[in-house]
């Protein structure tokens, strides 16, 4: 058998062994070698999968209304019990809120009241209205604007996708609202996020946590999977885990927060240390419980705040930096979320967080970017999902009005490699509007607003958006935030005008009453003086008379 004997068998065997060998490489688990992350190479990936690899899989949650109602009913019953039972039964009620008021704290009212003129957008502004489909005698959105105008504390939960990641858009929305109505601080900031992000409005340095995303729940230990909040990210850590937050000052209103609320969950007893301005510390002993708890800090305006686990294990969601009054806007952005992540968040945690915040007044749902496809114009399935999302939001945040923000404009590459408007944004917007309509909540057409500012092409030309023609940047965020503020300001201006007129009428009435009173008094004085004169003259007569006597 010479080496030059021709044989197909050898070629065939080579191919077969290569195929077998390549299939076998799938058994090599993902690993890290010299800092390089090696992936699993499964050539049969279209036919098979590895369970452990699912850890990185993004989960598509489904709405489960029955379960939601069950859980809500459970919360409502347990919330009712302790209040009634606390006094009668000597049960040790769990401390829900730990408080720390520093010595330098002095209550400052930051809320301000703008005049209707200040609120009123200029006459030539192109306003895309907020459509309110509420059918209640006083619509919930109306009530929200009423609270703004009345100078009551207002909390806004802004839930969105990567479009608002890094506080894009919300940073300006918050700034505009706080400039008009008062309030301080950047709102909610996560404790730790499992990937690198940056946020212009705050610096975060965290270490020692294991953090999980609601989009990839299988990466989290099973016991934590039902503990997600709508913020989308949780960090779990033992002794040594810490995070420090430091607001930056792109806007004067954002720094200078006077309150901080650290949201955490400690199943077993633990000890947590909070540090203000890197100098002032305080330790808290948290008793173990399944409930969401908070540590509330009240202080003079602070530069930084840090949380550190000293003992035990703690799930930390994040911190809300704000003030007692005025407006607070919490950015809950979750990358590649279509809004369905809310189905995966725990209604219990959501309800508890809502209660701890004092009750959200408005929930904004900004989604759709990840579901939109150039060729698809029918989004009826997504409309139905959005209805469920709205129901979830309503049940989890019972005091809040809901505002659905339509999908933003984007461009896609055509066959020639040129970016053209996607063409299906108006279709998706219409379906989102229909969902808002049937759920009787408010809707704002983001696409329309962006189009009136030149569309995504105009945004890119203005350097308001990234080169992917999909994501706006801070500049674009400011433009959209201002556009969203226009109808809000107009509604507030109308309300403020009514209020001003009423107050004016009241003042006038008061003045009138005052005038009448004054007049009455004058009359009285006059009468009195007449009488006095009469008496005087009478008395004089008498005296004279007496004298004469």
């Amino acid at each position: 058998m010479g080496s030059n004997r021709k044989s197909l068998f050898r070629g065939w065997l080579t191919a077969v062994c290569v195929a077998a060998g390549v299939c076998a490489t799938a058994l090599i688990p993902p690993a890290e070698v010299f800092g390089v992350k090696l992936h699993r190479t499964n050539i049969l990936s279209c036919l098979s999968h590895f369970e452990s690899d699912e850890r990185d899989n993004v989960v598509e949650y489904e709405a489960d209304m029955e379960r939601l109602e069950e859980q809500i009913a459970m919360i409502e019953s347990t919330q009712a019990v302790p209040a009634a039972a606390a006094d009668s039964v000597a049960a040790d009620p769990v401390t829900i809120s730990y408080e720390w008021r520093t010595d330098d704290f002095s209550p400052v009212r930051s809320a301000r009241r703008p005049s209707s003129e200040e609120l009123r957008p200029s006459a030539d502004a192109a306003i895309v209205p907020i459509e309110d489909f509420d059918t209640l005698p006083q619509s919930r959105f109306d009530r929200f604007v009423e609270r703004l105008v009345a100078g009551e504390p207002v909390r806004i939960a802004f839930m969105g996708d990567s479009f608002v990641e890094g506080d894009i858009l919300t940073v300006d929305l918050r700034h505009e609202l706080q400039t008009l109505f008062g309030g301080r601080g950047v709102g909610f900031v996560a404790c730790d996020i499992p990937f690198a992000t940056s946020r212009k409005s705050i610096k975060r340095r965290s270490t020692g946590w294991s953090s999980y995303s609601i989009m990839k729940p299988k990466a989290a230990p099973e016991s934590l999977r039902d503990k997600f909040f709508v913020s989308g990210y949780m960090a779990e850590g033992g002794a040594g885990a810490s995070t420090r937050w430091e607001p930056t000052e792109p806007y004067p209103t954002l720094a200078g927060a006077t309150t901080a609320r650290v949201l955490l969950l400690s199943r077993d007893d633990s000890r947590v240390e909070l540090t203000l301005n890197d100098t002032l510390s305080r330790t808290f002993d948290i008793s173990g419980d399944e409930a969401l708890r908070q540590i509330v800090v009240e202080s003079a305006p602070y530069r930084s705040i840090a949380v550190k686990v000293l003992e035990g294990r703690v799930i930390c969601y994040g911190v809300t930096l704000g003030s007692d009054d005025g407006v607070g806007v919490d950015n809950f952005s979750v990358r590649s979320n279509n809004g369905h992540a809310i189905f995966g968040a725990s209604p219990v945690i959501n309800r508890q967080a809502d209660a701890l915040s004092g009750g959200y007044d408005l929930v904004v749902l900004q989604y759709g970017l990840n579901i939109m496809q150039a060729s698809q114009r029918n989004y009826s399935k997504y409309r139905d999902q959005l209805r469920d999302m709205i129901s979830y939001a309503e049940r989890c945040f019972p005091s809040a009005a809901i505002l659905v923000m339509g999908v933003s404009d984007r461009c896609v590459k055509n066959d020639d490699g040129i970016y053209v408007p996607i063409g299906s944004a108006d279709a998706l917007s219409a379906y989102q509007r229909a969902a808002a309509d049937s759920c009787h909540v408010a809707f704002w057409n983001t696409y329309e607003a962006m189009r009136s500012m030149g569309g995504m092409k105009g945004f890119v030309a203005n350097k308001w958006a990234a080169g992917d023609y999909t994501h706006i940047n801070y500049g674009g965020g400011r433009a959209v935030a201002r556009a969203l503020m226009l109808p809000l300001r107009e509604m507030a201006a109308d309300k403020m005008a009514v209020r001003e007129r009423a107050e004016q009428a009241e003042r006038r009435r008061q003045m009138q009453i005052e005038e009448e009173r004054r007049q009455r008094e004058e009359q009285m004085q006059q009468r009195l003086s007449v009488i006095r004169n009469m008496v005087d003259s009478l008395a004089g007569d008498t005296l004279t008379f007496h004298k004469e006597e």
Partner: protein, 510 residues
Amino acid sequence: MELPVFADNIAERIETMLLFDEASPMTLASGFFLAAFIVFLTGYALVRRAVALRTIYVAAFSLYFYYKLSGIYILLLLFVAFNDFAIGRCVARDRSRGRSGRRWVAWSVAVNVGILAYFKATGFFVDLLEGFYGEGTLDIGKVVAPAGVSFFVFQSISYVVDIYRGRIRPLGHFTEYLFLLSFFPKMFLGPLVRNDDFIAQMQSRDTAPSREDVGRAARLIAGGLVKYAVLAKCIGVLLVRPAFAGEMGDGGIVALMAVYGFTMQIYCDFSGYSDLAVGVALLMGFRLPQNFDAPYHSATITEFWRRWHISLSTWLKDYLYISLGGNRRGRLRTYWNLIVTMFLGGLWHGVGLTFIAWGLLHGVALALHKVWLAVVPGAKPVGREMPWWRRLPGVLLTFHIVAFGWLLFNASDMQQVAVMLGNMTRNFDASQIVPFVESNWVAFVMMGIGYAMHALPASFDRGVERAVVRGGFVVQVVLIVAAIWCTMQCSAMLEAADVAGAGLPIYANF
């Protein structure tokens, strides 16, 4: 050790995999091809000695693979095959009756060039018309060239011309011609084969690889995969594409590195895929011609075209340059023919100013080199014949002329060429090299490997080949498996970094 969990609907999934999927056309580097090739080889072994049956078998598989690559365009392939098969017979009949058969050749060329022109130039003329009359004047949609259309059209023209020139006799059976035209390893990106040589192999009674062939095939496949699916892909996706798209800023360093990057990318991409094709064919016992021979070692532009895409430059020489008269009609006509040949070669890549400029650059450079050879005493056509001190500057100069050509080749329009050249000259800040390399180190490592591999002498290459052949079966299998694992790892990493690139070779567009 964790075992995979298989999906419930495997049969259904396999069924869909067997159909053409526009989103992922089948290449020789795909897992599907590996599986299909094993099935193919099994049957091939059974029919290998029955030449007629074997021809039908290979032709049928080739057609199926073409369908997996191009879908409905299989009809175009069948049309071209049938047209030129019939024309070939007509030419032979004319010749046997003492006529030249010229009219048939003209017909064949007209049909084939017409097909090419339709797919290449329609877009250009639609753009031109729309430029004059506004967008949407001609709404015929986007014309997408079928995969490998140039290669089978060129092959088909050469078949008819060879019969006309009396170099081959027409094939007796249509399936034979289908085999010649659509033989699956070369169908997508060549190499173009010499008809007489390939027909002899096709009709040989004993077509099977020797031990040495299998060893060489293993090296070609492993090396080809790494070049095509690791080096070229990484350089392209991580450096060239973003740099040419302007996403890396307008620094001179960026522009320069993008050009050096593309120069290596296109070589790795094209030669890697060619190696893969040659290797796969070798496993079946077919010898396809070498398509690349360390082209950037060339010391002159003439040498470059003897080392770059050899099968195409041979084709252009045999069927275009010689048809124009070659060098037999005087010196000036020779220069003219060179320029025209390269101009048409450029035009073939796409109707557009950048490709025309690319063709003219090479045509003029070739002509100037011919002048140089004629007027400078002692000038040599290839580097081998030069002393090192003349060869080295020659290599550097040739490399940079070629690299400049690639800038023209890859730019979207002449404006981009001007912008990038402007960046290189006006905006060049040498201190930016280190940070730029640091922030794009993966691409530069790949580029470094590419250039280092290329810089090694041919003897090293032969040494590796001998070692693989001697290493035997296990070494060969491990080598290929390792190469495939690298490509899969590479695409998984790129995907994880969210920069997964297009899966098709650059030349798929031409």
